[in-house]
Amino acid sequence: MSHAIETTGLLYQAGKNFELRDLSLQVPEGSIYGFLGPNGSGKTTSIRLCLGLLQPKAGRITVLGHEIPRESPRALGRIGYVPERPHLYQSLTVDESLRYHSAFYPTWEGKFADELVGRFGLDRSRGLSRLSKGEMGKLMILLALAQRPDLLVLDEPTDGLDPVVRREVLSALLDYVSERSATVFISSHLIHELERICDWVGVMDRGRLVAELPMQSFKNGIKRLRVTKAPSLLGDTPFVLLAREYLEGAAETWVVRGWQAPMAQYFDGVGADLREIVDLDLEEGFVELLRTARQAT
């Protein structure tokens, strides 16, 4: 499998309090990769490193086959980037912004841009400083899409947008991806939103990548089990035990990853009773994953 983004052993320090350690990401080509993590976990820093906006202390980054930061201008020509905060020039109008942006991208498609302006209902003569948050979000996505990129890097693109605008933006994004087979690397707090659109997921916490797996495995493999009479020392388990919580009497709650139905036999073998299996939604799975990762460090 080839990768649109690949980082190996990345190290980056920002001041004394934050460090990105041994970051090894692999974003498969053609995938929609959701980049999850709590605030301050290093998602934006990782993105900025991948685009060559920051220089790592150590490690290797390849984006669309280009070495970053050495070849970042060439890579950036094929990347549509939407940063966390609006970065466009506030003194320009929508039309002027389109003309400015298009001048830097030979792949820019004016007709498609016009189509998106109509679809998003943007007023070309309006100044950027007078746009609402939703309109600004739409304009940034428009600029990223109309340059016809092979890779879209979106840093919380729908953060703070109302559900109607969010749906419009995501729908335009998905249309583009299905038409072009582009790769999308999207970071977001909105876990349920990523659940709907992503096929891969990476989870960051405290500057480390704590999990990277297909969305299907992430969604299906995490369960909460209700167990009684389990021995205190477990030995090898066929699943990954993320958390074990003692309840009243001999009852316990386990959170496990990599669960499959035949694994229920394990409990007979250790003399325990498996009373209930509960599917965790992505958000609960995400929280459990972070809790386990933090306990391990």
Binding site: P83, Y89, L92, R99, F104
Partner: protein
């Protein structure tokens, strides 16, 4: 690409440039105001022209700083994210921005030249005196460009760099004041000024006589 960079720079700087540009056009005309009589004392004419002289380097400094600040202010507001995410090497972007600013500064320089030509053609001067509209305009252009280049480099730097430079200058001034209060004759600012404003100092062009009319 250069066209859109030039357009943005024009949009950002035009409001701030209008007044200095008009002033620069008016300066030579104000200098020769009252020089309608060829029987005037040549020394009076020269001393009047000389009294207007410092206005030209001051305007060159003002224009250079205005353009440099306008060039980088929008990028600074966005923490340079837009500029850095564009698909061109950093040096190329900086060169485009510098070039656009330099080209726009040609406008006020041209206005000064036109103003100087109009002023000198309408003035009646005593015999023995000569006018230097083109030389003055060329010197003004060069001074503006130098001030723009210096300010451009400072404005492009991070806030930390600018703060460090300003703090260093503040420290030098403070140290000089303290030395003077303590009765010391040690001069810190003088050598620094000489280094900057005497040949071959980088700002030498700003010092000396700026004369529209001379012998």
């Amino acid at each position: 690409m250069f066209q859109v960079i030039l357009f943005t720079q024009w949009k950002w700087s035009r409001a701030a440039l209008v007044f200095p540009a008009v002033l620069v056009f008016a300066l030579p005309i104000l200098t020769v105001r009252g020089f309608g009589d060829a029987t005037m004392d040549p020394l009076t004419v020269i001393s009047t022209a000389q009294s207007w002289g410092p206005s030209y380097p001051i305007m060159a400094i003002v224009l250079g700083i205005i353009m440099a600040v306008a060039t980088w202010s929008s990028d600074r507001n966005g923490k340079h994210t837009y500029a850095l995410s564009l698909p061109l090497p950093r040096w190329h972007y900086v060169l485009l921005r510098f070039g656009a600013g330099a080209l726009l500064l040609a406008g006020p320089a041209l206005l000064l030249w036109i103003g100087a030509l109009v002023a000198t053609s309408s003035a009646s001067l005593p015999p023995g005196l000569r006018v230097y509209p083109t030389a003055l305009a060329l010197r003004f252009t060069l001074a503006t460009l130098i001030m723009y280049a210096v300010s451009f480099a400072l404005a492009a730097g991070s806030s930390r760099v600018v703060r460090t430079i300003l703090l260093t200058l503040g420290f030098v001034v403070l140290a000089q004041i303290l030395l003077s209060l303590l009765g010391s004759e040690f001069d810190l600012i003088g050598p620094l000024g000489n280094w900057l404003f005497d040949w071959p100092g980088p700002l030498e062009i700003l010092s000396g006589r700026w004369m529209l009319i001379d012998v």
